[in-house]
């Protein structure tokens, strides 16, 4: 039973096609990592799937109740405190102020955000704290689907790992399904049930690999070996570290 289904989705910016013929589905409670080389349209795809953008072609079918999203940057409201930022989705849905604050505090607790910092503004928080707020904001409305758009790219290795653990724990506790875009295969192999590889030019999904075991229960060694075997022996991942020269030049 799939909760998110993309059928023949395509998108283009100013006549340049960035996505074409994308078919994918995510099952209930399943975390799917979407990987692909830089500039292949991963980000566009997740924005289309989350309804931030309308696709030019194809259909997006959503069978979940509500979704949250974590972006590449924290994208916090600079004028609102951490607490108000976390509560922002509840404000959109029209919840009362008192209840909002209560739910936001609970969400902050789940991502181990210090209670004492809830009254601070984003400018007063470190990058890792800001991203924690962004994750809490995505979790606050208790969504059954989450979109992640390379959320931890800007963080250092240790913090990245900590954030990945937060997401893994949250997904096990809340059983949400997720579409997790990343260019980091280790991250994908730690977090996901299944890895989808996007075509180099965004023309369809090149292929998928199902991972053994449950996220969070995998040994670091096993994760590392899986990724090595993908990179060395699997033709599907051959172009994963290519760089789109049109963007670089």
């Amino acid at each position: 039973m799939s909760v998110l289904q993309l059928r023949d989705v395509g998108h283009s910016y100013f006549g340049r096609t960035v996505l074409d013929g994308i078919d994918l589905s995510v099952a209930r409670g399943e975390v799917v990592a979407l990987v692909g080389p830089s500039g292949c349209g991963k980000s566009t795809l997740v924005h289309v799937a989350a309804g931030v953008m309308e696709p030019r072609r194809g259909r997006v079918e959503r069978a979940y109740a509500r979704h949250g999203m974590v972006f590449q940057g924290p994208r916090l409201l600079p004028w609102a405190t951490a607490l108000d930022n976390i509560a922002y989705p509840l404000r959109i849905s029209g919840m009362r102020r008192g209840e909002r604050a209560q739910r936001a505090r609970a969400a902050a607790e789940r991502v181990a955000f210090d209670r004492a910092d809830l009254g601070k503004f984003p400018v007063e928080l470190s990058g890792g704290m800001q991203q924690r707020v962004a994750i809490a904001r995505a979790l606050v409305a208790e969504p059954d689907f989450l979109f992640f758009d390379e959320p931890f790219t800007a963080l250092d290795a240790a913090l990245k790992r900590r954030m990945q653990d937060l997401v893994i724990d949250a997904s096990r506790a809340a059983h949400f399904a997720a579409l997790f875009v990343t260019h980091d295969l280790i991250e994908a192999a730690r977090i996901a049930h299944r890895i989808l590889v996007l075509d180099v030019a965004g023309r369809g999904v090149a292929g998928e690999r199902r991972l053994d075991g449950e996220p969070g229960a995998r040994e670091d060694r096993a994760v590392f070996e899986t990724v090595q075997s993908f990179l060395k022996g699997d033709p599907l991942f051959r172009h994963i570290h290519d760089v789109d020269e049109r963007r670089v030049a």
Binding site: H47, G51, L77, Y88, K120, E124
Partner: protein, 271 residues
């Protein structure tokens, strides 16, 4: 949490009041220069600051003068409110619709290019010697400032925040009320402060020319009597009224909105 918010507010208010000292120092400097001018040019051309303050005291001890000052302030604030509303609404429309913006830009240039004095003449012909003349002149002179500020605010909004709100299911109205207006506020307040100043200046000028009483009317009388001290005293009263409105209303509201900017400055002089 609530207690912390209130102590924070108290601290900000204290800092705001304390900053009055530096303002006072600057004004004292101005008074010293004025005194110097007085000593060079004599009593008739430039009465001493103290004499002016005494004249002001004499004027203010008469309850009728208070009515005059209130009349001018009321007109200025009326015009200010009307022009702020008109400018803000038009600015929002232009900011969100590029076609409106393209059409409005030349109009703003024309409106700002025509000197206010010309509008006063036209408004006098249209409205005669009434409050309408003053309010309309203020509207035309100061609404373009608000318009430009707001339109600028809308066009410089952070679109990635808009996308974020959309991802969490916010429709256009929610995005406007929770993001758009909040961002525009940062550009709106400086524009409001300038347009409030314009409103008072234009109100006095319009009163003087249209002969509709108020501070402008008193200035006209002081000129007729060659009463320089009286004229200066009335000018000081007009400025004092402006300062009362600006520092009593515009600035406190603004600093409440800009708390997060102050938070970015960890220590030292908070401006």
């Amino acid at each position: 949490m609530i207690a912390a918010a209130w102590t924070g507010r108290l601290g900000r208010t204290g800092r705001f009041l304390w900053s009055a000292w530096s303002g006072l120092a600057a004004l004292s400097l101005l008074a010293a220069l004025w005194q110097f001018g007085h000593e060079v040019y004599g009593d008739f051309i430039l009465p001493a600051p103290l004499a002016t303050v005494r004249a002001m005291g004499a004027i203010l001890s008469d309850p009728k003068s208070w009515d005059i000052a209130v009349l001018t302030s009321r007109r200025a604030v009326e015009g200010f409110v009307v022009s702020a509303l008109a400018g803000a609404l038009a600015g929002l429309a232009a900011g969100y619709s590029p076609a409106t913006m393209r059409a409005a830009r030349p109009l703003v240039t024309v409106l700002l290019g025509v000197p206010p004095i010309a509008w006063i003449v036209l408004a006098m012909i249209w409205f005669g010697s009434t409050d309408g003349t003053v309010v309309v002149t203020i509207l035309i002179a100061s609404s373009p400032l608000v318009f430009v500020g707001v339109a600028e605010g809308v066009t410089t909004r952070d679109r990635s925040l808009d996308d974020m709100a959309r991802a969490f299911g916010a429709g256009p109205v929610k995005r406007l009320t929770t993001l758009g207006l909040r961002h525009v506020a940062a550009h709106l307040f400086p524009a409001l402060a300038i347009s409030l100043g314009t409103a008072f200046k234009v109100a006095v000028m319009a009163e003087l020319l249209a002969n509709v009483g108020g501070i402008g009317g008193e200035l006209a009388r002081a000129r007729a009597n060659l009463d320089v001290a009286g004229a200066l005293a009335w000018v000081m009263i007009a400025v004092a009224a402006l300062i009362a409105f600006e520092y009593g209303i515009v600035h406190p509201v603004r600093s409440e909105f800009e708390r997060w900017r102050a938070a970015a400055v960890p220590w030292g002089v908070k401006r």
